[in-house]
Amino acid sequence: MAKEILLAIRNLVVKYHTDDAVIHAVNNVNLAVKKGETIGLVGETGAGKTTIARSILRILPPHTAKIVSGEILFSGRDITKLSEKEMCKIRGNKIAMIFQDPMTALNPIETVGFQIAEAIQLHNRISRSEAERRACNMLEMVGIPMERYSEYPHQFSGGMKQRVVIAMALSCNPELILADEPTTALDVTIQAQVLAMMQSLKKRLGTSVVLITHDLGVVANTCNSVAVVYAGEIVEYGTVEHIFDFASHPYTLGLFGSLPKLDSRERRLKPIKGLMPDPTALPQGCRFYDRCPEAVRKCSQTAPGEVEIAPGHLVKCIKAKGGAA
């Protein structure tokens, strides 16, 4: 089981600077991805999941976002210290990203084939025609006939565009794929297709995946481990089995609780009450304090540390210490 660690994030802190405030988007995040494994990042909108993924590729919005501290080790090299030129060799080649919204992720005035071939030619020393041939193969691999190589994004449906984006991401056989809600913008039947496709490609190529999603069902089906992100922190981390069976953080429990159940007779959904704290003014103590059903006074004063309640299962909650030690 001791697989090699491909990506390790240590104490990552990312801030956005706006005109009048500093947004604490990612605060002291630690994460490790092993070769060939899939890790799920779950959490509400605005929790900082996408920011974590974009930090790994260093494609945060320039000028406003900044990696303040921490390291991102990819195959042992710290990505945060690489030059832009070295970064360009990694992007798309070793690490690729699948974006959330396929409708806007493709350049509207270039053919889909060109957009795939461009990435291939950029990272491989091959001729143009060879790149085009490989791009055709990629299209076929994601289930798009290669006759459509020279068509434009507006001639494709949303699901097909997402498959083009996936083909683009896989075109250079990356070691790591960052999938930022790859199915959110798609309807349910297409979701299943896309996920199944990603799974089979992952198996065939042996890539690691960071999967960002809201969908716990998707996590259960595809991930090896899960990190629950809340207000820029990982509040709970562990294997899929452990998290689903022994979820300990009140927020994780809330996430599971907010799923509708078919077998219960309840008429209303059970959302987690309240909103995530304002990332420009994070509370001093536990970030989940305001919404936590089990909060005690101590929670508002000191931020909880990480507790390992079982091997590899980390929880950031003071209750966890007493409960399962």
Partner: protein, 329 residues
């Protein structure tokens, strides 16, 4: 594409009919008498009346309109009342000057404006962008004629480097073109900057960045091509309007161009000159807008598809193949 162009050319006919009618009505309600202008202040009222009758000015408006259209359809754009020369000939003589001025001026403004716009957008949030914006704001707000006078004063009178009203030699074109280009370059730069910023914010630019493209290729291949689409429209508009309206520059630098010609016509109530002049200039404008639209279609496949209508896609056959490919997983 050819069908689309043909359709657009046909659509020009009602537009031209409308323009000529509006011009005729405007002439009709404007005070002033061409016969009096031709004969001068000393002529008797009888002479003036006689000339009015001869020119057909006393006929009712529909008759005059019909007569004008009839002669235009026969390729006759009328004869200037003052110079007694065919309007078409006079305009043809002047057209090269205006075309030269407008082409060089627009070219110059494009060559200056687009790089500045890109430079400003790429350096957003830095003093370079602010400097470029500030300079372009000054350039946009500076009145044309004033800038022309400054140029004349400095390069023409003080330094004596450049002639100020001799377009017979190439040096004579420098100051007029610079005058035209200043404001337009600033306009293009501002348009370019805002479109570029808009495009750089788009998701597909992030996608391209995530592919590993370096900044240079990202900006010039992916962003610029998209950002150019609205800029082309502005440039086309500028070019078209300037053909009939580079009047100030023409007057200040004594360039015998179309703007000056029509202006003199208006001033002298030279009806044939006004009618045909405006008709021809607006036809030119419409043709240029058509060319711009064709360029659009060449750049943007989404527009191109509308024109070509049914593309070569055979939908049924391919959908079958797709589902099969998915099932293979």
């Amino acid at each position: 594409m050819a069908r689309y162009i043909a359709k657009r050319v046909l659509m020009l006919i009602p537009v031209m009919l409308g323009i000529s009618l509006v011009v005729l009505i405007l002439i009709d309600i404007t005070p002033g008498d061409p016969a009096r202008m031709v004969l001068g202040a000393q002529a008797t009222q009888e002479q003036v009346d006689e000339l009015r009758e001869e020119l057909g000015l006393n006929d009712p408006l529909p008759v005059r309109y019909g007569r004008f259209l009839w002669s235009v359809l026969h390729g006759d754009f009328g004869t200037s009342l003052l110079t007694k020369r065919p309007v078409a000939d006079e305009m043809l003589e002047r057209f090269p000057y205006t075309l030269m001025l407008v082409t060089l001026g627009t070219l110059l403004s494009v060559l200056i404006g687009i790089p500045i716009g890109i430079f400003a957008a790429v350096n957003q949030h830095s003093w370079k962008d602010n400097a470029a914006i500030f300079l372009s704001l000054i350039a946009v707000s500076m009145p044309n004629f004033w800038f022309a006078l400054l140029l004349i004063r400095f390069f023409g009178v003080r330094l004596r480097w450049l002639p100020i009203s001799r377009v017979a030699v190439w040096q004579g074109w420098i100051l007029p073109c610079a005058t035209m280009a200043l404001g337009l370059a600033a306009l293009i730069a501002r348009q370019m900057r805002s479109d570029m910023l808009e495009v750089l914010r788009q998701d597909y630019i992030t996608t391209a960045r995530a592919k590993g493209l370096a900044d240079g290729r990202l900006i010039y291949r992916h962003a610029l091509k998209n950002a150019m689409i609205p800029v082309i429209m502005v440039i086309g508009g500028i070019f078209g309007t300037s053909l009939g309206g580079s009047l100030i520059t023409e007057v200040i630098f004594s360039i015998p161009g179309l703007g000056q010609y029509i202006m003199t016509g208006l001033y002298n109530r030279d009806y044939p000159v006004i009618q045909s002049g405006i008709l021809i200039v607006s036809a030119l404008f419409a043709v240029i807008i058509l060319i711009v639209d064709v360029i659009f279609a060449l750049v943007d496949p989404r527009i191109r598809l509308q024109y070509t209508g049914k593309a070569k896609r055979k939908a049924g056959k391919q959908v079958g193949k797709e589902t099969q490919a998915i099932e293979n997983f």
